[in-house]
Structure formats: structure tokens, C-alpha cells
Symmetry: C2
Subunit: 291 residues, 2 copies
């Protein structure tokens, strides 16, 4: 297969911008130039790579080509930075997936020192979808509970986040006067992040309570989730890294659940990606649990 | 059309739980009883109401039936609460859509006093999808920038959130030594919430800068977004309600954008829904802008 860099760049920019017009503006060419390059790339690969919806959708055949396009773009940006350091190059964009609680606690301060040279395109995803994003080439790296390497990726263990069932002291007194008994857990409201969050469900099952029985609040944002527990909406599984200064009561000393996080990234020697990986691993050593 | 309450309840519970098994556990019946009721409801309406995927998907024909099921469930829960107040009824679940910045600032404290009687199923959605959720019957109310009433809904104006272009004082000195000129805005990194967030793009266009040009960080969670601006990732449009105590610098006194929020809810006399609407309107009077 003959590779044309301008064609690959058109694919990358179109997926990033979501539209051919956006890609044209980003690359300072006309929309018809983008369209021609995409058609030529589809002719060269013999496959339909994009569905021209709004935003465009990458087809299954388009995934390896998009991944290739982004790998090439990253390596080219690294090389040009090395050839002419500090000449005010446009920062390279790194799409990274991460779980909501990591983004809300320890990841942003770790990435901040690199934010002048790298544009961080952060995607919030649960574990299941993160593997798909890596496979599809939509993200280059991920902080994820998925320990199995996605094909083409390396994986490093970062450390754990320990979730414990917590509530305000007033909530604990009102709903659990005799501790976390099964009848009390079946009646007390719980706060759940979203439909894919199994932490509260898992704890309830471990105590013999069907998770379909208690009333559930759904609060699908990480900081807001802890705010809801702190405001007394219900009990919830809260990691040490997110305990509010005011203090929540731990409901059950045997109720902790450890979620082990991993760094997965494309198998690729890239200075930019290596620097981000170093920053994330250093912060993880400090902020995550290493039992 | 002959209505069967048990059948409507099966539809509601299946969509809420996402699976027939989950609905069966929630209603304390067998999965085959759920399956029979759904088939009977589909026979009575002459339509396929659900796609049996995981989670189940409501078809277009299923939307008005789901909406009806939830309206009936809400009215029945209200009535039973009125007949036997305080007898420890299972709280009624209210699915509500809201924009991320409202959830992160003024809405949760307003809902907290009701969280013992009402289970809040909060959905984060941008304006466009919120109207769809109301129409489909997936949410009963919404805090949304959409001013046009969705068919079957009432709409009340809540007040405004005023977004201003802000950054840390260090960021402003480094990237905008001569103020927010077009060349400086074309080079300075900006923080954007997600692909549907047009606030930064709108400001850039108003200053003659193509939004495809500057480097963009994407940080898709409301509190984390402000954290990223505070950590110096880039400049961003920040509402007064979210300004951090440490203080950010306002970049452009003429750059404010007002987003006017509305409360949309199903046209339905329900005690529970009315109490939530009252709490939201009272908090909005206090926390939103009323120029």
C-alpha cells in the first residue's frame, strides 16, 4: 500500500474536527481538497474509511488507517520539535482516555506542566469502552482498570484506588442505627455514578442485598458524586483520594474494594507520549495505593 | 387502547433497569412474567416497543408508551404517599436532565432536602439531546438552555449563567502580554469542555479567530474543566458560579456570554414533580443571574 502523508493527515484532521469543513480550516486547505484526499485514500486502501455523517464516523476498515495516521502525525511532530526546538510549533494533540475519578483527582496536576507543548484531548470512559477507543485508534493512551493489553499496546500497572462505603455521620445515624445490616441496606438510598458503575451494586451483593431493591440516585460526574454523598443524598463508595476535608463516616471496615489502574499506550517510540507516560507514572506512585 | 397497569410498570422497570432480569428483580416477579407483560403490551398497542438489546432500547413507537407508563407511575406514587404519608414507601424515581455546569454548582444543594423521598436519576446532557430525552419520555424534567417547549412540556425561565473568558494571572501574562489580540488568541491554548461546547469557539469567532487554529485541550467534566483552567492548561469561559476562591483573571471585559437556563417539565399535576420544580426555581432565583 502506497502511503500519502497528506491523505493520512486529512483523515486524522477530519476525525478530530468531526467534519470535512473543520478539517479544511485546521489544515488551511479547501474542503474539496480534503474530500479529494479522503477519496484517494479510500481508493488506495480499497475500503470505505469514513461514514460522512455529522460528526463523521470511522468505519471498521478505517480504524487501522486512522491509527496509522495518528502514529505518523505524532512521530512527525516529535521529529520537527527535535529539529527545531522551541520555534513555536503548534502543540501535538494527544487523545487520552481515563476514568472519571482519576481525572477528578490525580491526573490533571500531573499533566499540567506539559500543557504548553501538548494539547490534551481527554475522553472520559469506563473500562469497557476504553479498550475499544485504543483499538479504534481514537485514543493513544489510557488510564484504565483494564489489565489485559489491547493489541498493539503496552500496559503498566499504576496502583490502586481504594473505595470504601461512606456517608455523612447524620446519614449513618438515621439509616444505619444498628450498622450496615441487610434490611438497612435494602432501605437506605445509595448514590451511583451511572449505569456502568458496579461498585455500590457489588457491595450490596456482598452483603446479601439485591441491588434492584434500594432507592438509587444517579449522579454521573465524579466531583458531583462526592458532593451528593456529602450533601446526604445517600451512601456511596468513595476513594481515599476524594474524601472531602469535612469528613465522611466509613460505614463498614470490611467493605473496601480496590480498583487497580493501568496505563495502556500504543507501542510506539514517541518523545511526547513518553513524557506523558513518565508524568502519569510518577504521579501514580505518589497518589495511588501500593499495597 | 386498553391499559394494563402491570404491563406499563413492566415497561418502565425494564427501561430503568436496562434488562428484563433487572426489571424482574425490581418488581419481585420472574423474568418470564416481565417478558409476557411486555409482549402483551406490544400486542395491545400493535407496535414493537423495545429492542431486546443490552441495555434494551426504546423504539420510536415505544416512546409515547414509556412516557405514559412513567406519568402513571409518578401519579400512583404521589397518590399512595397522600393516602398513607410516611409509611416508608419506596421513593419515587424522577429522571431529570441537566447541563453539567448546573449540576456542578447550584442544583445538587437545591435537591438535597428532597433526596430522602425522591430518588434522583440525573442525566448530563447538552441542550440538543435534552429535548430528545424529554420527548422520548426518558426524563420528566430538565434544566436546559432550550427555551422552546418540547411538545407536552411546560417551560419556565430560570435565569442566566454569565460566562467570561478567564485564565490564571500567570497564563494571562505569558500568552496575552498585549491583551486578547487576534494573533495571541490564535496561539494561546484554550480549554474546551467537549465537542458540543461552543462557548470558546463563539468567543474566538467574535474576535476574528478561526476556532480550528488555536491548540485546544478537551476536559469533559465541569469541575475538572475549571480545575484545568486554574492549573494553567489554557484560558476558558468560566461562569461566576464556578470561579475558584484563589481567583482567575478576566481576560476581556467585553467577552461575557449569557446562557439563559429554563426548566422544562411534563405537563402533569404531580406533587413530587411540583416540589422539585419549586426547589429548583427557588435556588435559581438565588444563584443565577437576573439582569
Amino acid at each position: 500500500m502506497d502511503l500519502d502523508l497528506a491523505q493520512l493527515r486529512a483523515l486524522d484532521a477530519t476525525v478530530t474536527a468531526g467534519t470535512l469543513d473543520g478539517a479544511a480550516r485546521a489544515l488551511h486547505v479547501t474542503p474539496s481538497a480534503i474530500s479529494q484526499r479522503l477519496r484517494a485514500l479510500e481508493a488506495a486502501t480499497g475500503r470505505v474509511l469514513l461514514v460522512r455523517s455529522k460528526p463523521v464516523q470511522v468505519t471498521e476498515s478505517g480504524q487501522p488507517v486512522l491509527r496509522l495516521a495518528r502514529q505518523v502525525a505524532l512521530l512527525a511532530a516529535d521529529a520537527s520539535r527535535e529539529l527545531a526546538p522551541g520555534d513555536g510549533d503548534r502543540p501535538v494533540t494527544l487523545p487520552i482516555a481515563l476514568n472519571a475519578d482519576s481525572m477528578a483527582t490525580w491526573v490533571l496536576p500531573a499533566l499540567a506542566p506539559l500543557a504548553g507543548e501538548i494539547a490534551f484531548d481527554l475522553h472520559l470512559q469506563d473500562q469497557e469502552h476504553t479498550a475499544a477507543l485504543l483499538r479504534e485508534g481514537r485514543v493513544m493512551a489510557a488510564v484504565t482498570a483494564a489489565a489485559d493489553p489491547v493489541p498493539g499496546c503496552t500496559v503498566t500497572r499504576l496502583g490502586g484506588m481504594r473505595y470504601r462505603p461512606m456517608a455523612t455521620p447524620e446519614f449513618a445515624r438515621r439509616w444505619f442505627p444498628d450498622g450496615v445490616t441487610a434490611p438497612a441496606l435494602a432501605r437506605a438510598p445509595a448514590v451511583v455514578f451511572d449505569r456502568t458503575d458496579d461498585l455500590q451494586h457489588g457491595y450490596l451483593r456482598s452483603r446479601g442485598v439485591d441491588p434492584a431493591v434500594p432507592p438509587l440516585h444517579h449522579v454521573p460526574a465524579s466531583v458531583d458524586y462526592v458532593t451528593a454523598v456529602t450533601l446526604g443524598f445517600g451512601w456511596g463508595m468513595v476513594p481515599r483520594q476524594q474524601e472531602p476535608p469535612g469528613g465522611l463516616a466509613e460505614l463498614d471496615r470490611d467493605g473496601a474494594v480496590d480498583v487497580v489502574l493501568h496505563w495502556q499506550q500504543w507501542r510506539l517510540r514517541s518523545t511526547s507520549l513518553d513524557r506523558v507516560a513518565d508524568a502519569v507514572r510518577t504521579a501514580a506512585r505518589r497518589h495511588l495505593d501500593h499495597p
